[in-house]
């Protein structure tokens, strides 16, 4: 029983970490810039397709395809931010929602046109396949890898936002735009960088997700629900919140399906309602 519990915890945590990498960027853009970007999942899909193209078309190894997915999603998001999204920063929430969900439809159509509706397959390297024995438990190697990547991302983000000059600028620009501009900070540029960072992380998440959940043009819609749950449970603008929200969600999802399979898939929604009932701003929400 103990060993099964440990396995369920591990699997749940790994799934949660995948959701974390997919969602943390949205928490950053939503929380820091107050911009409701429902197209976040579309950047995840973009990262996935970039990884597939890099590996199958260009023959890059998997570990090189991951940063490529990050960079491509970040670059394209800057392009969109400069041309489209920035016009909506001062628009109402409804306009932002309508516009960005429209972007997801467009992205789905473009992915269908470019890659067809077929499931995309990638071959991860042999050393990431299979499982390893740890203290008598069989843990999936790829899941360990996902956890490692997620922890590294968390460390970088926390360090970056709390300890670096750019992080300080981002926080200043968010807390009080006018004063930040008065001090000579280029707020627009800072926002563009923040947006790129968030979308790039989504792209990385999309590339990581292919091996576990596959990739087709409906990805942007499919994972939007999970991403929004993570963000609302964790609280906006908080990396720690996203981390714990995603871990909780992943573990509850897997544990729920394991112990009560009859209602397993419904459990995460109960959890969402329960948490928001007690803490309307999410676990770590500040505003």
């Amino acid at each position: 029983m103990i060993s099964q519990l440990a396995i369920v915890l591990f699997d749940g945590f790994a799934f949660g970490m995948l959701l974390f990498v997919l969602s943390v960027g949205l928490s950053v853009t939503l929380g820091l810039m107050n911009f409701i970007n429902l197209a976040h999942g579309a950047f995840g899909m973009l990262g996935g397709y970039v990884a597939v193209t890099a590996m199958r078309g260009l023959g890059l190894p998997f570990l090189a395809a991951l940063p490529a997915a990050f960079v491509a999603a970040a670059a394209i998001s800057v392009l969109l931010e400069r041309t489209l999204f920035r016009r909506l920063y001062r628009a109402g929430e409804l306009n932002q929602v309508l516009f960005t969900i429209g972007v997801v439809f467009v992205a789905t159509a473009m992915a269908t046109y470019a890659f067809g509706t077929v499931q995309q397959v990638i071959q991860i390297p042999g050393w990431l396949r299979g499982s390893v024995e740890v203290a008598g438990l069989r843990l999936g190697t790829y899941r360990i890898f996902i956890i490692a990547v997620a922890l590294a991302v968390t460390a970088l983000l926390v360090f970056g936002l709390e300890r670096t000059r750019l992080g300080a600028r981002i926080r200043a620009a968010v807390d009080n735009q006018r004063v930040a501009q008065g001090l000579g900070l280029d707020v627009e540029k800072i926002f563009a960088v923040t947006f790129a960072l968030g979308s790039g992380l989504a792209g990385l998440g999309g590339a990581l997700a292919i091996e576990i959940v596959g990739l087709d043009p409906s990805f942007g819609f499919h994972y939007l629900v999970y991403v929004l749950i993570v963000v609302s449970v964790g609280g906006l603008g908080s990396v720690a919140g996203s981390f714990f929200g995603a871990a909780l969600l992943g573990i509850c999802d897997v544990a729920g399906k394991y112990f009560v399979p009859e209602i397993g898939s419904f459990l995460i929604y109960l959890l969402l309602v329960g948490i928001l009932f007690v803490r309307p701003l999410g676990l770590f929400g500040r505003r």
Partner: protein, 392 residues
């Protein structure tokens, strides 16, 4: 109305009437499929099957031109399917309804076919009950009980297993698969030691696979819709060491479709599936079909949806030949009853009683052939009918 408008209308009407009178007569086929949304891939593959048949056999039958009108349902939406079927019949004046990748689509449109007395060719939707919903429905795909009931029997009798654990998707087809496999299996002396249902859009299978492992079964039976899930489930099973030869793995053919095999790799070896269409079946008709299909679709291979669309068009063409171009639902459905032909899938026919498909069920095992994984046929069961029709 000014005189000019009146003249324009008169001219327009006159032109449209006269052009109708001189043009070649057409047979309009309204194709209803989920072109957008999560099942878009199924729609595309089915449509590619339709197109290939028309490309090979021309677009003229019994002196009439075949014209296709497409409608999108966006997914398993019976209300949308009903609405577009009505639009097709009333506004586009189609003679035949066709397509239907998903059971809810077919159920939604069935009433329209019954009321309007139009032949309705179901090219995929695989729940038994579909053909009973309108006297004008003919199916050219497969029914889930058809392939799974005999499979369950075979697993106990020939497959040499006594106990199995079932893991199926929690929706109509999954329930059908579980009940028909279990029925065949227990009738032949097998025992089901546990069963679970997974949510239809389940991203992560680790919890369910752990439950299977806890039960420590001799064999696992899986039903899963195509797309991303087969590979995800296959890998989750492999991570737990639940793969052949340690644990036997049975399932319906979707589990080992080409992309899933590529994604699972070595761990897929030894998985045994039941299906009505096998891509690798070495047969002149099939080889030619696969080759032509790949040429027309950038190297993509045909699947169960493609063959349903291909044979569905064959049925429409042959029925029209029989009726000499008469497109009334009664004439066409009479022509279709009892029709039999050699398809790339093997010999098949339409049961005159139930208007459902009768065909060979293939049991295949994943093996490595010339360095690539294939579904190799290890057993064939000819002339299988759906076991549920009339069995109340």
């Amino acid at each position: 109305m000014s005189i000019r408008t009146a003249a324009a209308v008169a001219l327009g009407l006159g032109l449209s009437l006269s052009s109708g009178a001189f043009a070649q007569e057409t047979v309009k086929i309204g194709v209803i499929l989920p072109y957008s949304g999560p099942f878009a891939d199924a729609a595309n593959q089915l449509e590619a099957g339709i197109k290939l048949y028309m490309q090979q056999n021309g677009d003229e039958v019994a002196g009439k031109k075949i014209e296709i009108v497409r409608k999108d349902t966006g997914g398993p939406a019976p209300d949308v399917a009903k609405r577009v079927a009505q639009e097709l019949v009333v506004r586009d004046q189609v003679d035949i309804l066709a397509g239907f990748a998903l059971t809810p689509e077919a159920l939604g449109a069935a009433d329209v076919s019954a009321e309007a007395q139009k032949l309705m060719v179901v090219m995929n939707a695989a729940t038994s009950v579909v053909t009973e919903k309108s006297p004008y429905i003919v199916r050219t795909s497969v029914t889930i009980p058809q392939v799974n009931y005999v499979f369950g029997k075979w697993a106990a009798e020939e497959g040499g297993i006594k106990e199995a654990y079932t893991l199926v998707s929690d929706y109509g087809p999954g329930h059908d698969a579980e009940s028909s496999f279990s029925k065949g299996f227990t009738e032949a002396g097998g025992k089901i030691i546990g069963s679970d249902k997974t949510p239809v859009a389940n991203p992560d299978f680790s919890a369910f696979v752990q439950r299977v492992k806890d039960a420590n079964p001799e064999a696992v039976y899986v039903f899963i819709p195509g797309g991303a899930q087969p590979a995800a489930l296959g890998k989750a099973l492999a991570d737990r060491g639940l793969t052949p030869p340690d644990v036997k793995l049975f399932g319906q053919g979707e589990l080992t479709h080409p992309e899933a095999l590529e994604s699972m790799g070595e761990t897929a070896k030894g998985i045994i599936t039941t299906f009505h269409y096998t891509l690798e079946r070495d047969d002149p008709l099939n080889n030619e079909y696969v080759k032509a299909y790949r040429e027309a679709n950038n190297g993509r291979s045909p699947d169960l949806f493609s063959i349903g669309g291909y044979d569905g068009m064959h049925l429409i063409y042959e029925a029209l030949k029989k009726t000499n171009g008469d497109t009334s639902g009664d004439a066409l459905v009479e022509a279709a009853k009892g029709m039999s032909w050699d398809s790339p899938r093997g010999p098949m026919s339409i049961d005159p009683e139930t208007r459902d498909v009768v065909q060979t069920v293939y049991i295949r095992e994943v093996k490595e052939v010339d360095g690539e994984l294939q579904n190799v046929i290890i057993h064939e069961i000819p002339n299988v009918k759906d076991p549920l029709h009339g069995a109340k």
